[in-house]
Symmetry: C2
């Protein structure tokens, strides 16, 4: 049996407004009547209906999160960051997996709008114009995490700088033959930006670019594995590989180890992201870390600012990255 505010009003012998007032503490209520109301609530096991409330007050205290795939190592950590600060601000989160599918993204976004989320956090490799337009049209704040767009707030790191630093680290260790397994070329951040960083590092060091030393990967283990095998078949074998994601890097390491080669003696590898597992594999992975939890937390904090109507002066926050040196280099 489900009771509503009317039931408790009747039971406590007051009007529904005073019940509302004690629930929300929105206006003073005489302590005696308040007690009666509380009693009634207790006895009936009454729970306020947030849906009805939302309809009236025009906000839901819910926000949407769109991620490519929660089962992909990278995202759970940032979702956790989001969740933690969302809870501090009393928001609960709707989670959607887009699989990087444009239609799903559009559909879910629309669904979130209909469910009247107060705001939304979007993660995805590339933000289509179509979706960006929808986001602008919708009158709810959206913040991007890990990707970027001229007229939307976002939190990111400087991917090309981070990649450059990673490669420079390898160069500083004396490596001259540094190959790269990168993200998809159509992907601005993980693909092009990180490759650009690689190229910049080489240029600055006066090292020639060898096109056979750059292989385009996906993001998963398998493509790192295959990329490394391909690289090792070259007559001039690289002595180090910079890999644009940790999961690929772990795949690359396996390929190297299977070949009977030693890491880092024969080939050093440095990854990107610093997912949880990168410190746990053997050998542990040196990696250019993104502050995933912070990206989530800060992204959500940014969102709350819009939600609360605070003025925000900087809607593009770019966070620091940090190289974690481990055994693989």
């Amino acid at each position: 049996m489900k009771f509503n505010i009317k039931d408790v009003a009747k039971k406590a012998n007051v009007s529904i407004s005073t019940v509302s007032r004690v629930i929300n503490q929105s206006k003073p209520v005489q302590s005696k009547t308040k007690e009666r109301v509380l009693m009634a609530i207790e006895e009936l096991g009454y729970k306020p209906n947030a849906i009805a409330r939302s309809l009236k007050v025009k906000h839901t205290q819910s926000i949407g999160i769109m991620v490519p795939d929660i089962a992909n190592q990278f995202y759970p950590e940032v979702v956790r960051g989001i969740e933690d600060v969302a809870n501090m601000y009393e928001y609960t989160i709707f989670l959607c997996n887009t699989d990087l599918d444009d239609d799903k993204e559009l559909k879910y976004f629309s669904g979130m709008e209909e469910k009247q989320v107060d705001g939304l956090i979007f993660m995805g490799n590339i933000l289509t114009d179509r979706l960006a337009r929808e986001m602008k049209k919708a009158d709810m704040p959206v913040v991007l995490i890990g990707s970027d767009h001229p007229d939307l707030p976002s939190v990111t790191i400087d991917n090309t700088l981070a990649a450059r630093k990673a490669v420079e680290y390898l160069l500083d260790k004396g490596h001259r033959g540094v190959a790269v397994i990168t993200g998809k070329m159509k992907d601005p951040m993980m693909g092009r930006a990180r490759l650009k960083g690689y190229r910049e590092a080489l240029e600055k060091a006066g090292i020639n670019w060898k096109s056979e030393w750059v292989v385009e990967g996906g993001y998963r283990f398998k493509s790192g594995y295959e990329g490394a095998r391909q690289l090792m078949m070259l007559e001039e074998r690289p002595t180090a590989i910079f890999v644009a994601s940790d999961e690929m890097a772990i795949g690359a390491m396996r390929a190297i180890l299977e070949k009977g080669l030693q890491i880092p003696q024969d080939i050093a590898v440095v990854g990107f992201d610093n997912i949880d597992m990168s410190g746990k594999v053997y050998p542990s992975l040196t990696t250019m870390g993104q502050p995933m939890y912070e990206m989530g937390a800060i992204g959500m904090r940014l969102l709350t600012k819009y939600l609360q109507g605070e003025i925000v002066n900087d809607n593009k926050v770019v966070l620091n990255f940090e190289l974690t040196e481990r055994e693989s280099s």
Copy 2:
């Protein structure tokens, strides 16, 4: 600017009821007027307000998911399973991280009730009586995944049988010195049940139980690492370790490798869960796999049955497990 059904009614020169009818296709509408309505919707960029709808129809097409920690390797995969079938049935999901904290569990559950979720999926190591009572009281279906309770539907595997099989596998390989790193003893499934399986296997094989060969772990990498170190310091060193979770097993492997020992030649290890990473580490991990994605998918499917008022004859589904043999054994 946000428009409502009234706005489109005015624009299309019809009543709000006919607008509602074309949106929901709940009653025939003359194709000509339907067209007008569709035009108006299009022009205004109207999106129906699901909150208002929910208030009226008394369901929200939302369900809640409570997990200990989405950043923990095990859960994203089952959440993904849940999500996929939830979407097939047009539900969207609220995600909550409980951190295994009783108060948070209670609080979030209450919050989900207020938000009028149509149902809820709970994951947690142990279901407190307090929470179980709340679940019974609430008039919404709840299904448990990975844990169990006499009067709640659930989907699990037979943890003690699975553990026994894992240990028997080791025994069959000729190991006589099989140690175990288990879950917390207060945890019925991952702790006691899996330890029980270990014991049963030993008994059946006529092998003596050595209390110094069982160490109680948490679930994380570190406790596996430490557990293995402890085990290796014994004067009679085990030749195999059964570890009650993959993450701990990966920690155990690292401890073994660091010690300069070989896996599986010196010590074999088999884990539990078959998380994604267990096939990617080096050496790859033999593990007793839980069908995580399926547990999620089937759990959600079970929930939809309650949601749709289907009669369900078996509210305790126990799934098959499967040993995946890899390099660590």
